[in-house]
């Protein structure tokens, strides 16, 4: 499709025809049978040679679809060329211009729907492994102990507060500090990173990597404060009037867990995915009793996870690593409708997760002590498409069945946490309780911006980061124009 025009500086020695014949490099992984019993990272990442081999496949489109499809517009083409030039630090610095968290997005981005979906090679064969390349340069940078820090603008004297320390906030903080503003991040929990530390498991995103990315932001001048629940410990109005913030960005993330609202959901052994993952990831319950936080025993027991998203995959794979005898996904549609990333589903299957499709729990059963013993489900068939465009499941009468299980984890999504909305007069919300923000992510309150899951409802890390970058731009414009005095 694209013309073979090459940039003068291209470091790729191969003609385009030969590039397209190269097979996509396979990323080394921990063996499925071994990794199903440990919390170490599953993907091991490209060694340098493989990264260069994969980079050779890029045909350097004049209008790169990969950049267009990236929510934060990483200059993929330039990064790949720097890899070919073996200037890995330069490549890292290039990524960081647009992406404050490359080691993280290189691991958790749904690239098949983003950059890699824009790759021309994908039309006839397999796209360039962009995420693996991004991860490679970020890991290279981290392992050298140096950091490709982009230069910051001179100080503006303006102070911006960011509520939450998840991906939207960190991306926003990275851009704002580069624009020369003072940035202070408030986090409700005791550890920084939001969903990156409480939600995504160690085996998919090691916590050391999150810590490193946050350290980089700190070295660039971002201030962090933990243990502050904005809306409770301090309000939005107090931050603006008493603590002297010129602007605020609210990015508190997906809020309250949704339950199924079926009988017996209060029995012991039934968790929201949020709680299960928080205990395992944030609180390190998998290392009990060395760490104090307990988790209901999964070892040698049957665990079911209700839901078909990435959170469900994270939960079910965590339960295997806690020693579950069997770990199953119960989903009310079919695999085709599952919102989870294909790679996550494959990983789960390789590790021995069982998939029970077209089933819906209707009741949980327990012993006399209230400990879960079984789930009663009803089989489903697919009917007409619903609002989401997916065919909606319809219960098949008389198809109820009972499956024994000791632990059930509900991964049925989240709804808006009202903590900030309910304590901030004049902050407009949507019908479903999310914060209302316009295209520039400005809220109904002057100087207050919002983005990420608290505006859109549950989404992905990179979309949240995209919102963070957009907010940074809008806040910068607001500080330069509206607040000019």
């Amino acid at each position: 499709m694209s013309s073979p025009t090459q940039a003068k500086t291209s470091h790729n020695p191969l003609p385009n025809k030969e590039r397209t014949k190269l097979p996509r490099q396979r990323v080394p992984e921990q063996d499925a049978q071994v990794r199903a019993h440990n919390f170490l990272e599953v993907n091991l990442g490209f060694p340098a040679e493989q990264a260069r081999q994969e980079s050779l496949r890029c045909i350097e489109c004049p209008k790169p679809g990969c950049i267009e499809k990236c929510p934060v517009s990483v200059d993929v083409k330039a990064v790949i060329d720097l890899i070919l030039a073996e200037d890995y630090m330069g490549a890292a610095s290039k990524v960081r211009e647009d992406n404050a968290l490359p080691a993280i997005t290189g691991r958790v981005c749904p690239v098949e729907d983003q950059c890699e979906s824009g790759c021309v090679l994908g039309k006839k064969g397999e796209p360039v492994g962009i995420a693996y390349l991004e991860r490679f340069v970020a890991d290279w940078e981290r392992e050298t102990g140096n950091c490709g820090i982009p230069k910051s603008a001179p100080p503006t004297g303006k102070k911006v507060g960011i509520i939450g320390s998840g991906p939207a906030s960190l991306a926003c903080a990275g851009d704002l500090i580069q624009m020369g503003h003072q940035v202070h991040v408030f986090e409700a929990l005791h550890e920084l990173g939001g969903v990156l530390v409480y939600g995504i498991p160690e085996f998919r995103l090691p916590k050391d990597i999150v810590r490193h990315e946050i350290d980089v932001l700190r070295r660039r001048g971002v201030e962090f404060e933990t243990n502050v629940v904005v809306g409770k410990t301090v309000t939005i109005d107090e931050l603006m009037s008493e603590e002297g913030y010129d602007a605020l960005f609210i990015a508190t993330g997906a809020g309250l867990p949704r339950f199924l609202n079926v009988p017996g959901e209060h029995f012991n052994g039934i968790y929201s995915a949020n709680e299960f993952l928080t205990r395992v990831n944030l609180m390190r319950a998998y290392r009990f009793p060395e760490y104090d936080e307990p988790i209901y025993p999964c070892k040698d027991r049957d665990v079911i996870v209700v839901g078909g998203g990435n959170t469900a995959m994270d939960a079910v794979r965590s339960s295997l690593r806690l020693g579950a005898k069997s770990a199953s996904i119960f989903y009310r549609r079919t695999e085709a409708e599952m919102p989870a990333r294909v790679e996550e589903v494959h990983h789960a299957k390789d590790e021995g997760v069982h998939f029970e499709m077209l089933v819906n729990p209707v009741e949980f059963l327990a012993d006399e002590k209230g400990n879960l013993t079984a789930v009663k489900c009803i089989r489903q068939e697919l009917g007409e498409p619903d609002d989401s465009g997916r065919r909606s499941p319809v219960a098949i009468k008389g198809s109820e069945f009972v499956t024994p299980c000791s632990v059930a984890i509900i991964a049925a999504g989240t709804s808006a946490n009202p903590l900030i909305q309910s304590t901030t007069p004049g902050l407009a919300t949507t019908k479903r309780g999310y914060i209302q923000a316009d295209d520039s992510l400005a809220t109904s309150k002057p100087g207050v911006f919002a983005g990420g899951d608290i505006v859109t409802g549950g989404a992905t890390v990179i979309l949240a980061m995209g919102a963070g970058r957009k907010a940074a731009k809008s806040i910068d414009a607001y500080l330069k124009t509206t607040l000019k005095n």
Binding site: H190, T226, N227, G255, L256, T278, Y291, D292
Partner: protein, 300 residues
């Protein structure tokens, strides 16, 4: 890092702590709680705020040694620090002039009820306090309660102090003598359930403060869910106070027993060498404090 300014034993296994926490002290209202994490391996547990002094920037916690974390907490002294303290969380107590109110509390529950009792008195209520404990050595804050109450009754199970009997025995008498407009019960679940049954029969507005197991305390995990009117509500954000007649106490007790085995294991590990555990916590918190200072993270 949150420094302990004062640590004073109140009764057997119960200790009062005054802790530097300016942000929380500024916002605290009666009925609210904090989440505590002692060190970097610690669990997160909720503790009701017994008081706060916004000017001094301090909060008061009354801690009864029940599990590993509270046992270790109670070994701390003035000058020690705890790693994380976050709050104030939960909805504050409803304070208005109800008329005649009874505050029924058991053991360490008295510390939770005290600030609410004080505010109810200030709001013009006639306050009748019934404080109970298994025995004299477990009685706390009796004098403080007396100061803010029009009538105070002391009950012990073994008769070692005050009248012998349960707080509900006294509540029955009080209800027979005068018309109550509002009752607050704080303490062990069976006690709160007994109060709820007694006042429910007379249709007296009754509030209980629930002690569910929590993790984040902000509504994110749903671990603290309780059945209220047969529907799930979260003790951390919808509570911790609920209308007693609507609460399913059996489910609360069942859910509070969820980690009994692990709790036992943690306690055994602590009790194998409590002094070593204490030293480890002190060392770790000192190290963490230095590390936080070095990178410029504030956590208070």
């Amino acid at each position: 890092m949150f420094e302990i300014l004062e640590a004073r034993p109140l009764a057997r296994g119960i200790k009062l702590f005054v802790i530097k926490a300016p942000r929380i002290a500024r916002k605290q209202e009666p009925g609210q709680f904090v989440i505590v994490r002692l060190d970097d391996c610690g669990e997160r547990i909720p503790l009701t705020l017994a008081d706060a002094d916004p000017k001094a920037g301090t909060v008061t916690l009354v801690v009864q040694a029940i599990g590993k974390t509270t046992m270790l907490f109670n070994m701390l002294e003035a000058g020690d620090s705890i790693l994380d303290l976050v709050g104030p969380l939960g909805k504050p107590s409803e304070i208005e002039n109800f008329g005649t109110v009874a505050i029924v509390s058991g053991s360490v529950g008295t510390a939770m009820a005290y600030p609410t009792a004080r505010e109810l008195k200030r709001a013009g209520n006639k306050v009748i306090s019934i404080v109970g404990a298994r025995s004299k050595e477990l009685m706390v804050l009796e004098n403080e309660v007396r100061e803010v109450s029009d009538e105070t009754y002391v009950m012990t199970d073994d008769g070692s102090y005050g009248d012998k009997g349960l707080v509900t025995d006294k509540l029955k008498q009080v209800m027979a003598d005068q018309k109550l407009d509002y009752v607050l019960a704080c303490g062990p679940v069976p006690m709160m359930r007994a109060v709820a049954r007694m006042t429910g029969a007379e249709q007296i507005k009754t509030i209980v403060s629930l002690n569910s197991i929590m993790v984040d305390g902000t509504g994110m995990c749903g671990g603290c869910r309780v059945l209220v009117d047969n529907k799930s509500e979260f003790a951390c954000v919808d509570g911790p106070e609920f209308d007693a007649q609507r609460v399913n106490f059996e489910v609360l007790m069942q859910r509070n027993s969820m980690y009994r085995e692990q709790e036992r294991e943690s306690i055994d590990r602590l009790q194998a060498d409590p002094q070593a555990e204490l030293e480890r916590l002190r060392r770790k918190n000192h190290k963490t404090e230095c590390a936080l200072d070095a990178v410029g993270v504030t956590n208070e």
